[in-house]
Structures are given as structure tokens and as C-alpha cells.
Symmetry: C3
Subunit: 407 residues, 3 copies
């Protein structure tokens, strides 16, 4: 190395070091396929907060990674092994999550998405939030599309896509040096195949110490050289105790439609929930949300007493559609509702494409998706967040279809 170049580097370091010591965020690599790193257990603690990683053992969860962020008021479980899904959020007597019949956090190696006629995804489904996508995100069945050579080809899609069953290749924890010292868990999940999509999901779950809110901040990028369709549904699922008889969901509704004839029958009561009901058949409602001048919209689920609620806020520019999935079956079978902001509805991609709800990414293009989630305690607090939703609705009457969309 020429000595002048050495000198320049030394010179640069002299100036860089103080900067680094003051402003550098703390970064910790927990998993890296690039660097051949996999930490089985790890913990970092600060004043009143901690981030801990452990490896799960036993049965179907053997070898699954779990990261728990504790910001003093919230404990958030992130599952790197399952596409950075979020298992549960706990806060005192509240939790975001549900009691799925699937109790372990199942390793993707034991999930066969093709099984049960393309419903294999359900064998691992128990998270508070699992992303559906990225190549396809909806119902199983045969998609038909142009093959790029003038003809058409078909493919049997599986339920909700692959991203929720792909282990994250890179996982790191970042602690912001600047106040409010946000704690970030970042993961990179690749849905890349030869002769297939080359999609990169960079996802971050972050929280500020002491706050009862957290943020999901995702970027989807097309690493391929040709235009690529994609779909993403944020399948966020809520069970007891928030979900109960008389619980209610609030959204600002431009349009509302039932997904099928069965849902159509109960559309008048779409916003309220039954108690656990053995034999209940799922009801799915399709919503185009209203947004404010900054394209912000939201949804709130609160309990019967109206003193506990969870809220989600997002941009309709990013996620223009919302699906409300009501599955108030018996507790043993999964008593749960999904509030699912998305790029489209959960029909098969064939239907979504025909309806113009399958976005595309040009080579190198990125799209960002941000969700802000809040927990709310006390009637006042719940009323405040519900009123925000009501003010989005204002005097606009929802356009309600009493029949499913024709497709």
C-alpha cells in the first residue's frame, strides 16, 4: 500500500472516530448468511429495556429463532425463522395475538405449503402478524397468466404465499444513538428463485422505550432484471381477551363488500363480534378505506366494554385495501379476527390481476410499507382513537355492496 494512501486513511480515521463515538448506532448481527453467523442465544439490556434472542426447542419448533423486544411496557416476539413474522405482543393484561390450534412456532422445514390441496400454510398459522406474499398472497387455486412468449401458462398457487415460511437470511438489532433511542429488529428475507421472482423484503420492527406503540417498516425490492408482480397482505390476527362477544372493529369505509355469499348474509353486523361459536364459518369483508389528506387511514378493534383497544394506522397509498376476516369459531378451533391492510384482497391472484389489484415492480424498484400499531387502555384513550377513525369517515356514507364482487 502506498504510504500516501495509508496516510489518507489514518487522516480519515482521526476525523471519523469522534463522530463514530458520539453518533454511531449500536448494531448487533444475530444472523447472517453472508457472514456465516447464527447466534443461538443473545441478550442486550439497557435502562428498562432489553432485546433477547433464544432458540426454541422441542417438537415442531426445534431450532426456531425467537427475538423478544421489551421496551419496558411492551414485549414483542419476532420470529426470524418464519419470515420475520410477529408472534405476539404482551402488555400487562393486554396482548395482541390469539390462541391458534397450532401451538408451537413451527419450523418451515416441517411445513409443506402444497399439502391439503394448497392449504399447507395453515399448519404453521398462529402468529399475531404474518405477511402473505410476496409472489402471490391470496387463495390457492390455478392462476393463468402470459408466459412471456405470446402464450398463456398456468400455475397452482398455494394459500398466502411463501414469505411467512422463509427464514430470514440477515437479522440485526440496532439501537439508535439519537434520542428517543429507538430499538430496531431488522431482517432480510429473500423470495428468490431461478426462473422466478427475485424479491427482497427488508423488514424492521421498532419501538421506543416506554411507549405503547410500535412500528413495522418494510421495503420490498425487485432484484430481478424484469418487471415483477407482487402482492402483500399484512395478516394481523386478534383473539381473546380483546376479541370477545360485543367487541367491535372500526374502519373508515369508502366501500364495503362481502367476499362471498356466506359473508353477504351477515354484512349488516360486519363490525361486531360474536362470542366463540362452535361451527362458525368464516366471514370475510372487503374494504376500501377512506384516508385523510396525507393518505393516512386506520382501523381499531376494541373490547365490549370499550376500555381496551388495538389500533393500526397506515397509508392508503402504500396499502389501499383492507380485509376484515371474522372467524369467531370455538376457542378450540381458533377464535380470531384478522384486520389486514394489503395491496389487494385475498382472492386468487387470477382474480386480483383481472381486478387491477396486483402491483408490479420494475427492475430495482422498491416499495415501502409502514404500519403503526398502538395499544389503548381506558375508555378515554379508546374513545380518542375511535374518534379519529370516525373523523376520517366524517359524513361520507360507506358504499355497501350486499353481494360479493363479480369476477
Amino acid at each position: 500500500m502506498p504510504s500516501c494512501r495509508r496516510f489518507l486513511i489514518l487522516f480519515a480515521l482521526l476525523f471519523a472516530l469522534p463522530t463514530l463515538s458520539v453518533h454511531a448506532d449500536q448494531r448487533y448481527v444475530l444472523t447472517s448468511a453472508e457472514q456465516n453467523v447464527q447466534r443461538d442465544s443473545w441478550k442486550l439490556s439497557g435502562g428498562g429495556w432489553s432485546v433477547e434472542k433464544k432458540t426454541l426447542h422441542g417438537g415442531k419448533q426445534e431450532g426456531v429463532d425467537l427475538i423478544t423486544i421489551d421496551n419496558g411496557v411492551l414485549q414483542i416476539d419476532v420470529i426470524p425463522t418464519r419470515g420475520m413474522s410477529i408472534y405476539e405482543i404482551r402488555s400487562g393484561d393486554m396482548r395482541l395475538g390469539w390462541d391458534s390450534p397450532v401451538q408451537e412456532i413451527v419450523h418451515p422445514a416441517l411445513v409443506d405449503l402444497e399439502s391439503r390441496g394448497g392449504l399447507g400454510w395453515l399448519e404453521g398459522f398462529n402468529e399475531w402478524m404474518v405477511r402473505c406474499g410476496l409472489e402471490f398472497a391470496g387463495h390457492p387455486g390455478t392462476d393463468e397468466f402470459e408466459d412471456g412468449a405470446g402464450g398463456t401458462t398456468t400455475r397452482d398457487l398455494t394459500l398466502h404465499g411463501k414469505i411467512g415460511n422463509i427464514p430470514a437470511s440477515e437479522v440485526e438489532v440496532v439501537i439508535d444513538s439519537a434520542a428517543p433511542h429507538r430499538i430496531r429488529v431488522r431482517g432480510i428475507v429473500y423470495e428468490k428463485f431461478f426462473y422466478g421472482p427475485k424479491l427482497k423484503l427488508v423488514t424492521e420492527v421498532s419501538v421506543v422505550p416506554g411507549q405503547e406503540t410500535f412500528r413495522i417498516d418494510d421495503t420490498v425490492e425487485n432484484l430481478g432484471a424484469v418487471e415483477q408482480e407482487f402482492q402483500i397482505i399484512y395478516h394481523a390476527n386478534f383473539g381473546a381477551p380483546l376479541l370477545e362477544s360485543g367487541a367491535k372493529v372500526h374502519a373508515a369505509v369508502k366501500s364495503l363488500a362481502p367476499m362471498d355469499d356466506h359473508a353477504a348474509e351477515s354484512i349488516d353486523g360486519y363490525a361486531t363480534y360474536l362470542p366463540p361459536t362452535a361451527g362458525f364459518v368464516e366471514q370475510v369483508y372487503l374494504v376500501e378505506p377512506l384516508a385523510d389528506e396525507n393518505n393516512r387511514t386506520g382501523a381499531v378493534l376494541h373490547n365490549a366494554a370499550g376500555d381496551r383497544a388495538a389500533s393500526m394506522h397506515w397509508s392508503t397509498e402504500q396499502l389501499p385495501y383492507l380485509t376484515i376476516w371474522k372467524n369467531t369459531a370455538a376457542r378450540e378451533d381458533g377464535y380470531v379476527t384478522g384486520i389486514e391492510p394489503a395491496t389487494g384482497y385475498p382472492y386468487n391472484r387470477k382474480v386480483e390481476r383481472a381486478a387491477g389489484r396486483v402491483p408490479k415492480l420494475s427492475p430495482g424498484q422498491r416499495r415501502q410499507f409502514t404500519l403503526d400499531i398502538g395499544l389503548h387502555r381506558g375508555e378515554e384513550s379508546v374513545k380518542t382513537v375511535v374518534d379519529q377513525i370516525k373523523s376520517l369517515q366524517g359524513d361520507d356514507q360507506p358504499k355497501v355492496s350486499r353481494e360479493p364482487p363479480q369476477s
Copy 2:
């Protein structure tokens, strides 16, 4: 805690403690998804007996758990990773087991049940006893059933179901404090899916020190809130040296039928075995066993000399059907016979349902299945157990169908 309640608990403990110290069974948790436990290696020894767990390594068996119970005369290999199947029982010059072309104990993560047109189960098939079931247990192919909404739906089933390729979630070893100090290896295997069955299998393999018999004691429970069909076949497989030219199977037969036209051709010789025969095509026979006044029945397989035998005894209330699978192919291709007590026959579930052989469990309902297996040495011992079977038959003539059942 109110002090009177404290007092009551203390009072209870004072009486309980001596009892516990004398009678408490020893319990050792080897695997627990609930407690996040997975012991890679473990051993417990007593006077002339031991229980040892190891983890298998290399190739397709990497990470597979194996528990060997040695009661001084029998060594029994249980495979928690493969649904608590039993790999082999060894006792001096005898063994229950066979030489499958599949030589490693294959990790379920490497088995694709959907492969080979639904025959993927065969990629891991080499156990002495593997349970088929629990949602479905028979041949692959399209099942058709009511969808609960007035219509019918179809599903492509895979051979012999999933339970044999699901890792046990909980595994413990229990040593009875009371004589005869039975040694028990218990496992819990969940076959639970969202929008699918919620079945729990609690299985126990147990043995008394010094005895040449052991017991399989299983309970299947419907944890769901709606009625659930299930099927179970105890696919017990015997190869050399017990199986050989001139070996013979004895059962008490109410009715006997060939499973297909090929088996029909050889029905007169159903009870005797050929030597290893290259190109042999499997023959399957369907038996309704006769039982005694306590519903007990059994089957015995003995060698040509009649001085080595294995017996199985069970209740026809629990397992009313028996399948005898003859596969006396070349040793290289798997020289083996199956003696398979079951809730039905191994036809596709569609056929079984139509024939009334698919039982149901109401919510919370349990069904128990107990099998007693014995090893017998010497002509006298073999004659005694064969005579038991003959006395079950008594003067009743088996009703033999020379053609397969119409379905």
C-alpha cells in the same frame, strides 16, 4: 392468600409428603415444546435396566432422536422425531423389525408426503411399528366428503397419513415407584391444523424389567370443538429372521377377504410365507378377528421351525379390523409382512367411510388403544400362544370371500 387457605395447603402437604416420598413415580422430561426442553443425550440406569436417549447424526438421520429402553431382556428403540414410532425390538437372537431399503431413520423435514403421487411416506418407511393416521390412514387418492355447507368437497390424501412424520412435542420417561416398576416412555404428538383436525395422540411404550413382553398404550383425543373423523392403523412389520420360507401367521378369523384381485389368487395360502422372491407383488388380506368374551383377540407370527414367535394381543372393541400385508419380495427390496390391527382397512378414506369404518370423535372425546406384544422362544412357548389363537377360533369356520369387497 388468606391464612386459613394457607393452613389447609400446609395440612394437605403434611399428609401428602410421606406418600409422595414413598410412591411418587420418577419422571424425566426429555423433550418439551411447552418448557422449551430438548435433551440431546441422556441416560438413566437401574438394576439391570436402562433408558437412553441419543441424537442420530449423518445423512438423512441428522438430528433425529432415538430412545432405547433396555429392560434386561428387550431393547426397544422409540423414535420421538417420527411420531413415537418404534424402530426395532431386539432380544438375543430375535428381533422385531425388518430390513427396509430405507436404512437411515429419516428426519421428517426430508420427507415430502406429497411426492411420488402421494406415496412420499415410503421414503421414510423402515420401522417395526409406525402408526398410520390420524386424519386419514389408508391409500392415497381423492377423497370426497361433505363440506359442512351442504356441498361436497374433495381432497387428495397421501399414503398412511401424517402422524408417523410429526415430531413428538412432549417426551418423558416415567419409572413407576410401585412394583413391578414399569418403565414408560411417553410422548405427545399433535396432528393439529387451523381449519383441520385437532387431534392429540398420547402414546406410551412400556415394559417391566426382565419380561419379554411390552405394551403400547395410546389415547387419541379430539381437542377441537366439532366432531372429527379419524383413522388409526398399527402398521407392525416383521422381517427376517422371524419371517422366512414356511413362517406362518395365526389369527382368529371371523371373515377373510383379499384386498384386490391379485391377493385373491393366493388367498388359500394367505397364512404361510414364501422365501424372499424377486419381483413379488404385495398381497393384502382383510380380516375381521374373532374375540373372546372380553373382546380380546390376537395374532401370532412364527418361524418355519415353530420355535420363535411374536404375538400381538388387543381388543376388538378398540381395533375391530386386522390387515395382513404380505410383501415377501427380495431382501434387497424389503422382505416383510405387516400385521396391522386398526380401526379399518387401508383403502382410501372414501371407501372406508362408505363402508362405515371411519370412526368419529365428538369434541373432547378420547379413544384408547392398547397392544400387548410378546416374544416367544421354544416350541412349547410358541405352541402355547398359537393354541390361544386357535381356541379363539374354536369351531367357528372363517367366512372367506374369494373376491375383494365391492366398493
Copy 3:
């Protein structure tokens, strides 16, 4: 033991021992399902060479074994977990390998060969050389064949077969005691199923210290008792920097045909390569190579300048067919060409069987396949190896079909 026999053994040992001490090859077992051995990391070094094994971590490569042979001039990565495929060969500024969109070395437990309509193999495809086979090696789709009972049966085959996604059961490193002290990495991969093929692949990658060549030496054996079809394609893949605009492939061609109409359009330029071209659709050419009097043939790929080349030589008795796969897509989508000596072409086995290109192994029969690979630097060296190919061609005019074979 009779004392005379003891004496004979002692006598034999006396003579054998010095021989052993001088000539015994060094053997190191790295993986053995038989011996329950799995070494996570291991290294052996000699004068200027080394063999190192590590376990990969993170994302989809968690738990994958990688062995790197360094003979002083070549570094060869062998992947026991993926059927002993060869990931990459590095030598100074040269490498054999390519930049697949699949970047991690994916664990087979995460690959579902049945997915994407039988194209799941592509989810793990990034090796320099992966074997296709052994039961079937070509394109997915429905095969139809005799069922052994006078009828015909069908099976949906998956792309390129299973062997590349089966972990090796036995892996050892052998250092020859005799000069030139060849370094050998041997693996045994079983593709054995009950009611399926019983094929054993013994594979060896070997190299002499200091040489810029290496050898692949495989034996496929039918362990079953009945005749067994098999197929093998050595899918060797080359990307940048060797592959570039103006790179060229040389083969001695008896006959040449395009695989489909699309390839037919460009058959005149089959031997030269485009730069990375977004949206390029693969072109596949089918070659029957000419060979010398010892049945030796070869193929050479060189860069545009003609000063870097890779060569492969083999016997047309062992591998009578050669496929040239041109996939000069954008770098992001996989810029690569395959030079693939094989027992047949990559059509579905149904087509291959009808064309007489599916060999059979009788019980116990073995077939050997040897490939010699060389790296060539400098115009002289490249010219020499290209001239060898040209001399094989001599004055024989290639028989070129301008249309794909009728099948």
C-alpha cells in the same frame, strides 16, 4: 479359534504390517450415518494443500455442510448436504461457477421439489455442478410406464430429480499414501425408497496437489433385486467472468439439434454467447459428441479473448449425450451456460425412454462416470485444448437438424 488358524493370521499380519505402515492411505470420516458421526468443523493441512469442512449458518443455509479442497492452486467447494454437488472452483482470477439469484446454499429441508408445478428444484439451484437424477433427470411432467402387472401407470416427475437434494450419508477424506498423493473427497448418497429405486451413488472429487485439473469419479449401483432405470445429467454451469459476450463453446459434434422451436431459431450461433440480456429466453442444444478411438470426448468453454478456458473430458461410452444450455439472461436473473454430459437429454423421461436414452441397471450392476475438468490460462494453453476438440471433429461434418427431434 484353532491355533493353526491363529498362527496363519499372525503370519499374515507380520507381512501386512510393514506394508500398511508404508502404504496405507489416510482416511478421515467426516459424516457417517452408519457410525453416527457428523463433524461440524474439521481441517487437515499438508504441504501447500488443505481440506476443510465447515457448517454454514444463517437463513436457508443453516446446517449445510461445506467441504473446501485446496490443492495449492484450486479451491473446490463440495456440498455433502446437497448430494455432493460442487458449488464453485476458484483459481486466481478464474472461477468455475456462476451468480445465481439463489445466493445461499439452500438446505434440502427447505426445498419442495413438487412446488411451482414440479419446478421446486430451481429454489436451490446455484451450483457449478449438480447431478440430475438418478431415478429421473429431465423435465417435469407426467411419465407413463408399465406397472409390472401388464398395465400402465403414470407419475408426475419433478425437474431434474432428487439426488441434488439428498444429504450424503457417508463422507470421507482420503489422502493417497502413494505419489502423487491425490486428495479425495468421497461421499455416498442413497436414492432408495420402498417400492422405488434402490440406487447408490458413490462419488469422489479428487485433485493432485499443485495441478489445475480435478476429477469427478462416480459409481451408480442398483442395490435392488429388480432391473432399474436410471438417468444422470452432469449439470455443469458456467457464468462470468469466463462467460461473457463473445465467449465460445467447442465440442466435437456428430449431431446437433435444437431442443425446441425457440432454440431452432438461433442454432447457427449455438457456439457463441451474448452478453447478459434482460428477458433472454433459454436456448437448449442437443449434441451427440464424436469421440476418439478410446471413446474420449470433451468440451471447452473459453472467454472472448481466448485466454481463459475450462475444459471437460469424458467417455462417450459412459455419457453418450451432451446438452448445451444457454441462458444469457441479465446478471440479476442468472447469466449462465450449462455444459452437460449425460446418459440422455433433459426431456421428460417419457420422451427419453421412447428414444432409447434411459439406461437400466440389472440387480447389483454398477456404472461408472468419470469427468476430468481443467482450467486453462493463456492463449497457448487455450489453443491447445481447443485444438484437441477440433482434432476430434477432424473432417467430419456435424449433422445439424434445424428442427427439434420429433417425439
